[in-house]
Symmetry: C2
Subunit: 356 residues, 2 copies
């Protein structure tokens, strides 16, 4: 049984394509008093991009900070309730930002039409109805959230996505100019998310000719980007690499690094791409070549990943992380094999976390 | 103004995925007396694949020969009229075959809901209404028709596609086992269509980071396929190469070879992929490296492309070919530049055809 992968409906790529957003939204403004909801990374508040939003009089613009924490089920439910109470169902949701904003836009689109708390929809195909029209406009590249079938949320119990075909964006606007101002450390952490997606997608049971072709090209682009540094040309390449890395993992699976990263983020709130980098640094046993290359690239960009973090974590904290990670069977099945439970134990995972 | 590219809605890839087709179609069988139309390459009549079609009692199965000619506007109109007269609007159309069958399935889907002759819709965005649900199941790889936004038809005046976002398939089933039985010469001609797509997409004005990434990977796969030969592993690679080559040209454009190929096919009925190969063999002036590589691969597979064909064509025939080719301004703009009319003339095109 092979996956039936849902693709993004429409994609525009190129410098300055952000200025086409107004024309793209226009035919979607149908019905009585249609309005759009813009969900924009608070980083852009007061910046030139905020002045270029094609928002009309009725539209709602939310500047949302993603500094404090990754998207939560509570946050989505509260935002959804406020929007519906004040203005009813919007014609569309436009997310402008990084992976967290992509996830917020995707989750909000779904929760505007699905009753109750988003916690009850964390998992595969639990969503009952299509969401509202939703558009993704990435301003930092690497997470692949722009093409993925999931909107990852941290809930009271799980860090897990709302995963179904309706999660996927109806429209992407990929304008490489928008990622030009990303700070270098986050450019690295987020770009490395793509690199790690490809290493994990390639090294596992579910890899196949389709996911391999995407990972191979995405890795080639990552190498062209991260051996050179950030410039307009490599911004274009990184934007395509992120998309292709996302498509690779969608048709294959992520592995050990993401499983551990979810544990770290769920328990300590560490942001996803940074958590991945902290962990990848210690996974030589699983991905020897990938980790060696990762370390070379980190050194090249003078990215100093902290060591000895686990010295400050008590056993209870580490045990909780291990349980979150253990509870991601599809990743372990991919990375280790069908009999992964014979190789991966809570104690083994705790040892891995203690390397941090 | 950047293109807003419509993607295939859902894609399943992998050996044996053809057996998932019944389950994929089941939820689409809604309404009163829903039925499906299967459009299958006549090559498969009486072959094992014909026995594996998930056709139900009410469904219609057409085995269509694509040997005699490429799809025509007349053919689509007649088929559409017959289907509607006998059984009304179907729930879906499933095309199982090569590029011609893909084009027939896409065009039929559109013409089932758009009144009048398909000749009036040849061109960009002339179609008025979405077609019926349509599924592509390639049995030979290379044309990229499985992902393209066009359904190429030969009409009384033009060889030109029904090109709009509704043309794109709702579902692809990519089963590499289905292309295992392709005869070697057509495996080469059709596979080289992908190779030529990439060479043309890369070498022109509209190439960009997105189309380049797809062309680069598609070319890498083509090289892995055509320096090795046909086997189960290279069948998988060629299927992915075809998809990626198609995506590359969709976001860029084809060039000199396709412009000439359309002229040859329109006037003499030469089949598309074979026509491309006949012409590519003589385009050193435009694509020196690509043509050199093409010739090496042809020699490796002992593909002997005939020479001296034009000796049997009179001036009137060659003039007609040149006019068809000249009348593809988007291809010439891409390949030569905005001022292409200063470089490309009917006489110059006639000289190119005389090389054949």
């Amino acid at each position: 049984m092979h996956k039936n992968f849902k693709g993004v409906d429409k994609t525009v790529f190129g410098r300055g394509s952000f200025d086409q957003l107004g024309d793209i939204l226009a035919p979607r403004r149908t019905g009585d008093d249609p309005y759009m909801v813009f969900v924009v990374d608070a980083y852009f508040k007061g910046k030139p991009l905020a002045g270029r939003l094609p928002a009309e009089a009725n539209d709602r613009v939310y500047f949302i900070s993603v500094e404090e924490h990754e998207p939560t089920t509570d946050q989505i439910d509260t935002l959804r309730d406020e929007i519906l109470a004040q203005q009813g169902l919007p014609a569309g949701v436009i997310g402008i930002g990084g992976g967290s904003i992509m996830d917020i836009a995707k989750a909000l689109s779904l929760m505007l039409t699905n009753e109750g708390s988003s916690t009850q929809y964390q998992g595969l195909n639990l969503i009952k109805k299509p969401g509202v029209y939703h558009v993704g406009v990435p301003t930092i590249s690497g997470t692949g959230a722009e093409v993925s079938m999931t909107a990852v949320l941290t809930g009271p119990v799980k860090k897990l996505g709302l995963k179904c075909e309706w999660t996927v964006f109806d429209q992407l606007v990929l304008d490489p100019d928008l990622i030009a101002s990303v700070p270098r450390d986050w450019w690295f952490y987020t770009g490395m998310d793509t690199f790690i997606h490809c290493i994990e997608s390639e090294n596992g049971h579910f890899n196949n000719a389709y996911s391999h072709a995407y990972a191979e090209q995405s890795l080639a682009l990552c190498r062209q980007v991260f051996t050179v540094g950030q410039n307009p040309e490599t911004d274009e390449k990184l934007m395509v690499a992120s998309l292709m890395g996302g498509l690779s993992l969608t048709y294959s699976e992520v592995g050990v690094c993401h499983a551990l990263s979810y544990g770290l983020s769920k328990i300590l709130g560490t942001r996803h791409c940074y958590a991945n980098c902290l962990i990848m640094n210690h996974l030589e046993d699983y991905y020897p070549e990938g980790v060696a290359e990762f370390k070379q690239l980190a050194a090249l960009h003078q990215i100093n990943l902290p060591q000895g973090l686990s010295a400050e974590w008590d056993d209870d904290t580490i045990t909780k992380m291990a349980h979150v990670s253990y509870n991601l069977p599809h990743m372990w099945h991919h990375a280790i094999g069908e009999d992964w439970e014979q190789h991966i134990t809570i104690d083994g995972l705790k040892d891995l976390f203690r390397r941090l």
